[in-house]
């Protein structure tokens, strides 16, 4: 990335302070995300109540010392439900993004590297898939497949694949313009080696940045689908689902929607900060 370091005019430098705040963003973002993941993992131990435990005497009670986030329309503890909901949201976001990145970058690199007919076919199909708004596509897929955890992951992964294909492809195409790929071919390396040892690692920066941004996007899609009522069926707690219940009781109990909304928001901001921070750290041009 810093290949041009030794020659050319000096590029614009940042003050130490600017650089520090930039990397601070990355650190804070990472901290937020890691904290959320840990909270989700240990939810069974730290959640004060059973998330599905109903208490008819405590319907829609406002936040207090025992129920920090209040209770919902069934008298369930909202804090516990938000903690358990993190498990679904983060799991779906992580697995769907991982699937998307693996499938997408494999197809994209192959298409970009070989070009020609394969590339044209792949590009045409990604263009078509991308012409459905991501959310509508997810909606349709879940509606068709039926709402379950696996189907949710599949649906979101399918919406992610074309985006990763496009990115990996353009990255491979850009790399093919550079002489070192030709050098590899002249040295008699196999195509597989060139793609795996030379193109993939050089695309990794961009892929990681995009993965963090896409994980945010995947979590958003999951919670959105849950909000519409197309996620893991109740009573399983999901963030979007809790927001939906809160939305239906917005006039009586605004806190019900507020806390899970904040949870979603914090994870989104955390992941986006990680993505931006990584982009700044890996791409000197975007950082300027």
């Amino acid at each position: 990335m810093s290949l041009a370091a030794s020659s050319g005019p000096p590029s614009r430098r940042h003050s130490r302070l600017t650089r520090l705040t930039r990397s601070m963003g990355l650190v804070i973002g990472l901290a937020v995300v890691v904290l959320m993941i840990v909270a989700a993992l240990v939810a069974p131990w730290i959640a004060p109540f059973d998330p599905d435990d109903q208490d008819v005497l405590l319907i829609l009670s406002a936040p207090d010392a025992t129920h920090w986030f209040g209770t919902d329309a069934f008298g369930r503890d909202v804090l516990s439900r938000v903690l358990w909901g993190a498990r679904v949201s983060l799991y779906v976001g992580f697995v769907a993004t991982a699937l998307g990145i693996v499938i997408g970058s494999a197809i994209g690199i192959v298409a970009g590297f070989y070009g020609g007919l394969i590339d044209r076919a792949v590009s045409a199909s990604t263009d078509i898939l991308l012409s459905f708004p991501q959310l509508i596509m997810g909606l349709l897929l879940v509606a068709v497949l039926g709402a379950s955890l696996t189907n949710l992951i599949i649906a979101i992964a399918i919406t992610a694949v074309p985006a990763f294909i496009r990115m990996a492809r353009s990255s491979a195409l850009a790399m093919r313009e550079r002489d070192f790929i030709d050098a590899c071919r002249v040295l008699g390396y196999s195509d597989l080696r060139i793609m795996a040892v030379h193109i993939l690692p050089n695309s990794l920066d961009e892929l990681v940045v995009m993965a963090s941004l896409w994980m945010a996007s995947a979590i958003r899609t999951e919670s959105t689908l849950a909000f519409i009522g197309l996620s893991v069926p109740p009573p399983t707690a999901t963030w979007g689902g809790i927001v939906r219940e809160g939305f239906d009781n917005l006039l009586d109990a605004p806190w019900l929607a507020l806390f899970p909304s904040l949870a979603i928001l914090i994870v989104m901001i955390g992941l986006n900060m990680v993505g931006d921070g990584l982009r700044d750290a890996t791409d000197p041009r975007a950082a300027t």
Binding site: S6, S7, P9, P10, R12, R13
Partner: protein
């Protein structure tokens, strides 16, 4: 009458990681009307920084002129504020750049780009500027210029774009032209055309030309005087004939020997080592790390002094020149 371009004791510094480095040290010269002064050296010698200092186009916040005076057509560019400098740039002094491919704005028609300075400095209307732009494009011999006024840069070849750049730089009839590696990106047959065009325009308009190049062949062909730079210092300054007849600074000699020649029977002789990086510049003469004449005295910076009693031929070396 004063020369259109006077550079007097200019030092240009950049800041890297909080440290100041002088990339041009105490450079002085004048360029008279109809004269071509060539500033020669390899990458990083400070020749382009000198040009940007004169234009007042140094990257803000990173590089700045830290000492000296630059007088363009009577106006001191260092002391002046930005509004004054804007009124000088493109008006009394024009500049053409190395990369004709990227130096023109891809989304504006070339006729507009050529005429833009006229609207800015002479208050011409759009249509008047357009008419003048046509004249200018014909002047630089763009074939069927009238048809091409509304074309965009990508529709021109590299050589034609460089002509457009020349028309653009000369639009307001400046007294001084800075040409920063104007033909480096061009093929030799095109280079010859562009150099011929420049020489022709210079003679007609009485321009003072500061030519910045790494190519001693180009220098021999078009320059009147030459200044060789190394590591931000002027190491030799002479009339072109004197320079090629009697190159004196060890760097000048080595540079000439390193150039391959069509008529030579011997191969080019390399200069050992490489230009030290900014933070590793030796104190005193900056060429000492690659010089076969190096003595202890070289760790103090030698002054420019005449060669063979000729005040027009100066060299910065303890081992050479008159004592």
């Amino acid at each position: 009458m004063n020369a259109p371009l006077i550079v007097d004791g200019v030092t240009t510094s950049i800041r890297l990681d909080g440290q100041r480095h002088d990339v041009v040290r105490d450079i002085s010269f004048q360029v008279a009307a109809r004269e071509t002064l060539a500033l020669v050296g390899e990458s990083g010698c400070g020749k382009s920084m000198t040009a940007l200092s004169i234009m007042g186009l140094l990257p803000a916040g990173i590089a700045s002129v830290s000492a000296g005076k630059i007088i363009v057509d009577g106006i001191d560019m260092v002391a002046a504020d930005e509004t004054v400098r804007e009124s000088v740039r493109g008006n009394r002094i024009g500049m053409i750049f190395q990369e004709p491919m990227t130096s023109l704005n891809p989304v504006l028609p070339i006729g507009f780009q050529v005429g833009e300075a006229l609207m800015q400095h002479q208050g011409l209307s759009r249509s008047a500027a357009r008419a003048k732009a046509l004249d200018l494009l014909e002047h630089v011999r763009i074939p069927s210029a009238a048809r091409r006024l509304d074309d965009y840069p990508h529709q021109f070849s590299g050589g034609m774009r460089q002509r457009v750049m020349i028309a653009l730089a000369l639009a307001c009839g400046p007294k001084v032209l800075i040409a920063d590696e104007p033909t480096t990106a061009l093929d030799v047959t095109i280079q010859r055309q562009v150099l011929a065009l420049l020489a022709d325009l210079q003679a007609r308009e009485g321009l003072a030309v500061l030519l910045i190049t790494h190519n001693l062949g180009v220098v021999a062909s078009v320059a009147d005087r030459v200044m060789v730079m190394y590591g931000g210092d002027v190491v030799e300054s002479a009339d072109v004939k004197d320079f090629f007849a009697r190159p004196t600074h060890p760097y000048s000699v080595a540079l000439l020997a390193a150039m391959p020649r069509i008529d030579a029977t011997e191969g080019p002789q390399p200069i050992p080592g490489q230009v030290p990086s900014l933070d590793a510049m030796p104190s005193g003469c900056r060429f000492q790390s690659r010089c076969h004449l190096r003595q202890d005295v070289c760790s103090t910076l030698p002054p420019l002094k005449p060669v063979a009693g000729n005040p027009g031929h100066q060299v910065r070396c303890w081992m050479r020149g008159d004592t």
